[in-house]
């Protein structure tokens, strides 16, 4: 595995990590504001996380 491939893979993981981390953070804030909406927020968070992870994996497999 050459260096550019490894660097690219690292960048992809950083991107996905930042994206999902921000979603998780906003989800936590939202749950803290309104604890009774926990179910809906969790659902929305999982959907967004899966979409981001989908792009991440697609890029990872293309590289």
């Amino acid at each position: 595995m050459e260096i550019p491939t490894i660097v690219g893979a690292g960048l992809i993981v950083i991107g996905a990590g930042i994206g999902i981390g921000r979603i998780g953070g906003s989800a936590m804030d939202a749950i803290a504001r309104q604890p009774e909406a926990y179910g809906k927020i969790q659902t929305a968070m999982l959907i967004a996380a899966a979409l981001i992870e989908g792009i991440g994996f697609a890029a990872l497999f293309a590289g």
């Binding site: 659902t43 999982l46 979409l51 992870e53 994996f57 697609a58 497999f61």
Partner: protein
Amino acid sequence: MQSKFLLKFLTITLLVFSLNLNAQHDTHDSSIEKVDLKAKIKADIDHHIQDSHDFTFTYDKENNKYWGFSLPIILWDNGLHLFSSSKFHHGESVAENNGNYYKLYHNKIYKTDAEGSISLDDHQHPTNSKPLDFSITKNVFMIMVTSVLMLLLFGGLARSFGKGPIATGPGRFFEPIVVYIRDDIARPNIGEAKYKRYMPYLLTVFFFVWFLNLFGLTPLGVNVTGNIAITFALAIITFLITQFSGNKNYWKHIFWMPGVPVPMKIILAPIELLGVFIKPFALMIRLYANIMAGHIVLMSIIGLIFIFKNWIGGGLTFFLAFFLTLIELLVAALQAYIFTMLSALYFGFAVEEHEHDEAH
């Protein structure tokens, strides 16, 4: 009383899923080089991930012992050829059937002559002709097993409602999940009026993907949803259902988005058209990559146990593999849920009624 049952259930579940962390083949030979061990681990991982024409649970290549059973091979090569994959002897010999000779090369069947010669071109690809392969491979066999399992479970569940309002039988574990799919996935996304038409497909795809993901985590060495052809088929079905159930609103939203100025409409049309194809494509890639990557990482870490030949390294790696298996269990259910949710979302887009007269 309830917590005792829960404890027993959890223990049995976790034991079953940690059984695939057992040693599979002998590495007692003290003169094995690290490079050789890594090559062996790679070969084992490849064997787990790829489809194969026979169902081998485990094997010992040095002593030529294989535990498993062989599956039928069905070829169309100007005539139907039907024989058992045991004729291939795990890729070593040439199978002969009705005067034609076939040989396995990298898990694919090629037509060859009596000696089994495979001619390779510059890129190391074989140039022999390939017959049309309709064999029952490991993946096809597992799909059939899963279908029968689902028929039994859910047929039993449906029939048990005839006796009374409470479900009985082993399928009753899935009733809350079915209700969840109906109330939280289908109804909100597709709408009250039309969700019933799509419920059969959504239920089927959810449990199909979930059960096959779970089968992939067992020690059997199957990897159905981690195969891009399978996820391609599932994504194509979702794609076809959305296109065929699209109403006038749907096509209008793609090609001539209402509520935006005309230059924007012209710019949006190709982008939306691309989106029509990219959404199922992402469905396919998401499921494939999640499951495949999970399998590869898990088996690499198990292979790491063989590279660390001491108690501390092996012990810590075992716990890492154990926790990774737990995460993979979550991913199995989550990916099934995501696939179903996004399919329901796309169906909802396709059948959306005219509810926005003002700005879009």
